[in-house]
């Protein structure tokens, strides 16, 4: 059994490309070419050179000794927070901008929640001299103001999405609408392992550098390439997909996905998709989805803009449905406290998205000699105002 995508673009029953015909030529063009382009040695070199010289890869695998002691197990942190622009998102945008250039596109669009993907997209567009339009929910524009300013500094246009909950889902709708309206010259850089096939697979592959590095680094540090657990927060699921990728079919490695419970999974203000979702279609993909019995998509809620999404990528839906992945939901409060804990114990202020992954130790016991790798997906600079307000700093 494989937990990776099949030739039809499905992970088990999840995935596919549920897209209007207007998007067919674009996604089909990508579907037909992405593997070939990604496997072209010239592309690979360009991609890897930029990851190394521009993004700053490999990111360290850091043994967090004070955190380990505090949590009673052995914890390594995969330092995606040290990537240029401050999160794993840029691994994917570097890949997609190079692909877009190969496809002859001149205009780039993207959606963003936390703004990290928007910044990462604006960044690579500046790097390549391409036009960049980023859609962002009005609520997120407010709570992630620093990232809005960064996008503007980088020359991108930020367009507000005002429908629905005015967050990530709605920004994605707007980006898709833009793409429908600009089918020829525009590439849509999706920011997570969501969307129609081949996006989830393509994004997962670009992000898979994370687990490729973990394997090599663990081998060097521990003489084994396999941890007992890999832990990651899941919004759409790209950082998790990248951290799991090379372990997907190695069932000796436990995969732990951490979702945002918002004010509590049953509070009505939550984004814990695995717990609250049912199979449905969102943004072109069949996956787990928070929805009404009638099939209307529910407005999610999380304090972290990047996890405030009512779906998950189809890979994660499959990991959940198959039992391969272990899903844990973490509330706003638990995440905020875990963020502060990490700051105080290790001198690292995580993104609030990321902070969710650090809250599992209150809920889930590990053995003293377990080797747990947590994907530290991003830094908390964008979230300072939220931290200040929450902790009255």
């Amino acid at each position: 059994m494989t937990y990776n995508v099949d030739e039809n673009g499905y992970y088990g029953e999840f995935g596919g490309a549920y897209i209007p015909e207007m998007l067919y030529p674009n996604t089909e063009e990508i579907r037909q070419q992405y593997l070939q382009i990604m496997q072209d040695p010239v592309f690979e070199k360009e991609f890897n050179d930029l990851l190394r010289d521009y993004v700053g890869r490999p990111t360290p695998l850091y043994y967090a000794s004070r955190l380990s002691e505090h949590c009673g197990t052995r914890i390594y942190l995969k330092r995606e927070d040290l990537c240029h622009t401050g999160a794993h998102k840029v691994n994917n945008t570097i890949g997609q901008i190079l692909l877009a250039k190969r496809l002859g596109k001149q205009r780039i669009i993207a959606e963003t929640g936390a703004g990290q993907h928007g910044v990462a997209t604006a960044t690579v567009c500046a790097l390549m001299g391409m036009e960049c339009i980023v859609y962002m929910g009005t609520v997120d524009i407010e709570r992630q103001a620093p990232n809005v300013a960064r996008m503007k500094m980088l020359g991108a246009t930020v367009r507000a999405a005002n429908s629905g909950s005015k967050t990530l889902k709605d920004a994605t709708n707007e980006a898709i609408r833009d793409w429908i309206n600009n089918p020829v010259d525009t590439h849509y850089i999706i920011g997570s392992v969501v969307g129609p096939h081949p996006y989830p697979d393509m994004v997962a592959r670009f992000q898979s550098v994370i687990s490729a590095e973990i394997k090599a680094q663990l081998q060097e540090k521990e003489g084994r390439s396999r941890p007992d657990y890999v832990v990651a927060c899941v919004g759409g699921g790209s950082n998790a997909a990248g951290a799991y990728y090379h372990y997907l079919d190695d069932t000796q490695v436990g995969l732990i996905a951490v979702e945002a419970a918002g004010k509590g999974v049953d509070s009505g203000e939550s984004a814990a998709t695995s717990y609250l979702g049912k199979t449905g279609i969102i943004h072109g993909s069949k996956t787990l989805l928070m929805q009404t019995p009638d099939g209307q998509i529910t407005e999610p809620y999380s304090i972290s803009a990047g996890l405030d999404y009512p779906g998950v990528g189809p890979m994660h839906a499959h990991l959940y449905a198959s039992g391969r992945g272990e899903f844990i939901s973490i509330t706003d409060d638990e995440a905020m406290k875990a963020g502060r804990m990490l700051a105080r114990l290790e001198g690292i202020i995580p993104a609030i998205e990321t902070a969710h992954a650090f809250a599992i130790f209150e809920k889930r016991k590990f053995k003293a000699d377990d080797l747990v790798v947590i994907n530290l997906s991003g830094r908390g600079d964008k979230d300072l105002q939220t931290y200040i307000d929450y902790f009255k700093l």
Partner: protein
């Protein structure tokens, strides 16, 4: 399919067909049937009944807003079906449900198709259920309940794919006038005409019905020069927004 579907019958009439889209439960929750009847009375040939969806990503602001409005005022799949119960005692033109795939999936695809058949729905337009996923998983069910699945074609659709879609279709091809979300544009240009002409010249099995951006008698005439008919959506919704459900017939009079 053995028995002739109402859509197929209608397409054989020797005239340009006028098809109207509206969002179920809009402007008022109870307007659905009234609008359908009024459209038929005023000579409309075919109706697309929009099943509203929370996240209609192929639609422009007009249809989005009407959908949100309808949902807020209580429209659901179940309610739409109950409104349409007995509709075939009142109207006889082809009725198509147009919507997004997720509500259908939640209802259960088979249950949904069965219900459509019971009510007398003739076809479905589900823009986000494209050919491949349809054929892989759902075609048999649609066929079993005698529902036509209508596919879209856009200016970017390749000839090869058009032929593939044509081969898989048994009603008409929904010719999207320009690659865009729904919403009335200011008129038809030479590009559109050339495109319609090009497709018309392909000699396809299925007739073409044009849609997106048709708003008045002039654009209707332009759109149907090379096609069998045309669908008006956003322009009609806008008219209803301004004038209410009772004005549905007036709108049609301006086209025909």
């Amino acid at each position: 399919m053995s028995m002739m579907n109402r859509i197929q019958t209608k397409l054989q009439e020797d005239k340009k067909l006028l098809s109207i889209y509206f969002t179920a439960g809009y402007p008022q929750h109870g307007d659905t049937v009234k609008i359908i009847q009024s459209l038929e009375e005023h000579g409309v040939d075919m109706i697309e009944i929009g099943l509203p969806f929370s996240d209609p990503l192929a639609d422009g602001p007009t249809i989005q807003e009407s959908s949100t409005h309808a949902l807020t005022h209580g429209m659901t799949t179940e309610k739409l079906f109950s409104q349409l119960q007995g509709i075939r005692e009142k109207v006889s033109i082809p009725l198509i449900i147009m919507g997004y795939f997720n509500p259908v999936l939640q209802y259960g695809v088979e249950a949904f198709c069965k219900k459509c058949r019971e009510i007398g729905i003739d076809g479905l337009i589900l823009p986000d259920l494209p050919l491949r996923e349809y054929q892989l998983q759902y075609k048999e069910i649609f066929d079993a309940y005698g529902l036509l699945n209508i596919f879209l074609i856009t200016p970017q659709t390749s000839d090869e794919r058009i032929r593939e879609i044509d081969a898989a279709s048994n009603g008409f091809l929904y010719l999207v006038s320009s690659a865009s979300t729904t919403g009335a544009k200011s008129g038809f240009g030479q590009d559109q005409q050339d495109y319609f002409k090009r497709i018309a010249a392909m000699g396809l099995r299925n007739p073409l019905i044009a849609g997106f951006g048709i708003s008045n008698a002039e654009t209707f005439a332009q759109a149907t020069e090379h096609t069998k008919g045309a669908i008006i959506g956003s322009a009609f919704i806008k008219y209803l927004t301004e004038n209410g459900a009772d004005s549905a017939g007036d709108f049609v009079k301006r086209i025909r």
